[in-house]
Amino acid sequence: MTILKNRLFWPAAILLALLIVNVFTSNQFITLQDGHLFGTLIDILRGSAPLVLVALGMTLVISTGGIDLSVGSVMAISGAVACLLIKDLGNQNAVGSVLLIMAVAIAVSALLGLWNGSLVAIVGIQPIIATLILMVAGRGLAQLITDGQIINVQSSPYATIATGFFLTLPVAFLIAVAAVALITVLTRRTALGLLLESVGGSPSASRLAGIRAKRLTIMVYVVSGAFSGLAGLIYSANIKSADSIYAGNLIELDAILAVVIGGTALIGGRFSILGTVLGAILIQTLQVTVVGIGVPSKATLLFKAVVVVVLCLSQSAIFREKVFGRFKPRPAVRAEVPA
């Protein structure tokens, strides 16, 4: 019974169900081939990396009671900056230069996060408006950087971050794992998590407890920017080009959804990193499953919406009470219902 009450039970159950569907519908769920793991499960883990990264940053932002709509545009800018610089390299396969360029792209993304954070914390603009500015303007900026073209690159070190394998596992997946570990340590081994939850839980009480919320707020937007930048690199490395129009298109909605599925309330306060990761992988699995079971492409979005609605309803205590409570004698056997 206690496990059923856990907020992550239903997302985990639905994820498991979707994975089981995939075991039957996909040709290969997981096998070892060419010295690395291969199959639908690996595709899911690899493909979910950008969303996991974006959703991690989003979790921190949402925990302070904010929101970051600009993540998709930052992804586009980051990819555009990287591809533009790599294209001009004499040797696109020079590992050192490519690493440096990626660092530059992430730094630019962090700066964009600083811009968001300053608008929210110093100027005092509502987060949804402040980040909407960069959401719209950022895509224009990315198109300016690429001059409206799609920039193609032929750099194998760059491609590695999206399509490479290390120790039989996809590099993109390992990057996501490292990011999750980093954020977990950053928030739970220091007092950062506590202070963020405090600010999100009650800004006025936090102020009177001596917490200076401004710096914390700016910091979470910087982290969100940097992680979106990294996600943008993986996206662009995957298609070996900078696509300033479709890179990260609508990913902010998936990221917010992942955070909410993971049990972090949009009003701020308590957050769950594990929950967010679960949410992001669930969304990616859903996308893969839709293709796998042959839902016609026209109906894909609708199908996705239905699953999301079911998921959200399953997490709603009121809904569960209404639906399941009706068919049962009132006080007695509610414990059996969800099983």
Binding site: T190, A191, L194, L195, A205, S206, L208, A209, G210, I211
Partner: protein, 510 residues
């Protein structure tokens, strides 16, 4: 109008309203006659706002009946209240400041010809209406152009125009200056002459005595009595609001007499010279010594909280000089005060104290952690050690550090907040209403704690609406009235509740 006030326009009898765990109104009677200004008096939690919300249809009553013009009515909601002729103007003006004055007055019931709003008629009627209130302003200007007082009068004009027989003014004067108050009173007198019954709530005693004809006193959800204002001296009013008979108060105080000795040589920790904040508290002087308990006494809204907040930097003083340990400081924000060893526990436990989602442990370490910064977390073992110690010392129940603090009772939440500040080892602890709304046992424990802390050398600024408490604990009492520190008393033999009530009531130092 000239009708004799024989029949009340509004008569409420035996009103009962229960919230989970609290009886907010317990058999309260209230009568309102046409052409009178009737003040509703009581301290915080007395039931004033509940009564008003019953009257405006926000709450449904659990017992009793309401009669309007002799007919029994059921007020189902704010719109029903308006239809029945009861209009309310709240402290915060509920108008759209971006619309014009005329639009605000007629919003939702614009004069129309063939479905089209006739702007000319609207402006004309608005201007006429305001003229009746002695207000000559351009009604086609946006409301935001005008002062708060004018905005309030526009709200009143709107209320009156909706055929209000009963006008409720809930703290309309709290943010107005003296001349604006005068203007408002003129309007009230005009309406009174027109036969409107006005229910007036204000924390300013002088205003009550200036404008009201009769008053009803509530305390702890019960009716204390209905009086003619002119026949009830201020001291007696205060006594009835606060509740203890003078004799009882004194005997209580005698029983709880504790040693009030303090070393004469104690160093002053904090000195305020002419510190004040416009609109919140007039400039005051106050010195707090080591090991001294300074009590702030005064009615609700007298400026107790405002004064305390300035000393912590919760609000910024806009005048005067403050020095801590003889060195001048500017308390820009709470962190600056915390660095100087000042702690502050707000009266708003829910919104400015606890973080409900977080656990007892997290709430307790919060201020200490904030002072250390996020990069230097308090090791978990140390946290558990500190938290366990304070859960025991303050007997916080349930003694489960990982329980969300929102699930604790008010008294235990208060103890969590005290623990939060005590672990920062402050030299001056400012506590605003630490015993409000908590049970008797917890109250006694907190009072005992304050006494012990002071004996241990900590200075305490103790703010409370309960005179008894202030008298029992304080070495020195600062009395506030109408947002002004009017007197500072040494709590020696000659000082008793009556003496303080006199000051609260009259402001004079007799």
């Amino acid at each position: 109008m000239g009708e004799p006030a024989t029949n009340p326009v509004l008569e409420m009898t035996g009103i009962r309203k229960v919230f989970p765990g609290v009886v907010a109104l317990d058999g309260v009677d209230f009568r309102l006659y046409p052409g009178e200004v009737h003040a509703l008096m009581g301290e915080n939690g007395a039931g004033k706002s509940t009564l008003i919300k019953v009257l405006t249809g926000v709450y449904e009553i659990d017992g009793g009946d309401i009669r309007l013009n002799g007919e029994e009515v059921r007020i189902a909601g704010p719109i029903a209240a308006q239809k029945a002729g009861i209009s309310t103007v709240y402290q915060e003006v509920n108008l759209c400041t971006n619309l014009t004055v005329a639009e605000n007055i007629f919003i939702g019931r614009e004069p129309r010809t063939f479905g089209k709003i006739s702007w000319g008629t609207m402006r004309k009627r608005a201007a006429e209406l305001l003229k009746r209130l002695d207000l000559d302003i351009d009604v086609s200007e946006p409301l935001s152009r005008y002062s708060l007082a004018i905005q309030q009068m526009v709200a009143i004009a709107r209320a009156v125009d909706i055929q209000a027989h009963v006008l409720i003014l809930d703290e309309p004067t709290s943010s107005l200056d003296a001349s604006e108050v005068e203007q408002l009173f003129r309007v009230m007198r005009r309406l009174k002459a027109d036969g409107v019954a006005i229910l007036f709530v204000s924390h300013f005693l002088d205003q009550i005595y200036e404008i009201s004809d009769r008053l009803t006193v509530l305390r702890n959800g019960q009716l204390i009595g209905e009086y003619k204002t002119a026949e009830l001296p201020q001291v007696q009013l205060v006594e009835r609001m606060i509740g203890k008979e003078l004799a009882t108060l004194e005997s209580l105080e005698d029983k709880a007499q504790r040693s009030r000795k303090r070393t004469a040589a104690a160093e002053p920790i904090l000195q305020a010279k002419g510190v004040g904040r416009t609109g919140a508290i007039a400039p005051f002087d106050l010195t707090i010594h080591q090991g001294e308990v300074v009590g702030l006494a005064g009615l609700l809204g007298s400026g107790r909280t405002e004064l305390a907040r300035l000393l912590f930097g919760a609000d910024r003083a806009d005048q005067g000089e403050l020095s801590i340990d003889g060195k001048p400081v500017t308390l820009r924000d709470p962190q600056v005060a915390m660095k100087r060893g000042i702690a502050f526990s707000s009266e708003n436990r829910r919104t400015e104290g606890i973080i409900g989602d977080l656990s007892v442990r997290e709430n307790i370490i919060l201020a200490l952690q904030a002072a250390r910064g996020w990069t230097r977390p308090i090791p978990r073992r140390k946290q558990d050690e500190i938290v366990d110690k304070y859960i025991k010392a303050l007997s916080i129940r349930p003694a489960d550090p990982e329980r969300p603090v929102r699930n604790l009772s008010g008294g235990n939440q208060q103890k969590v907040l005290l623990a939060r500040w005590l672990i920062t080892e402050p030299r001056l602890l400012i506590i605003d209403e630490p015993t409000r709304g908590i049970d008797v046992g917890a109250k006694a424990e907190i009072q005992k704690l304050v006494a012990e802390l002071s004996d241990g050398g900590m200075a305490v600024l103790f703010v409370s609406a309960e005179l008894e408490e202030v008298l029992r604990l304080s070495h020195k009492i600062a009395v506030l009235r109408d947002r002004r520190l009017v007197e500072e008393l040494d709590n020696s033999a000659g000082v008793d509740a009556e003496r303080i009530m006199q000051t609260i009531a009259s402001g004079a130092t007799s």
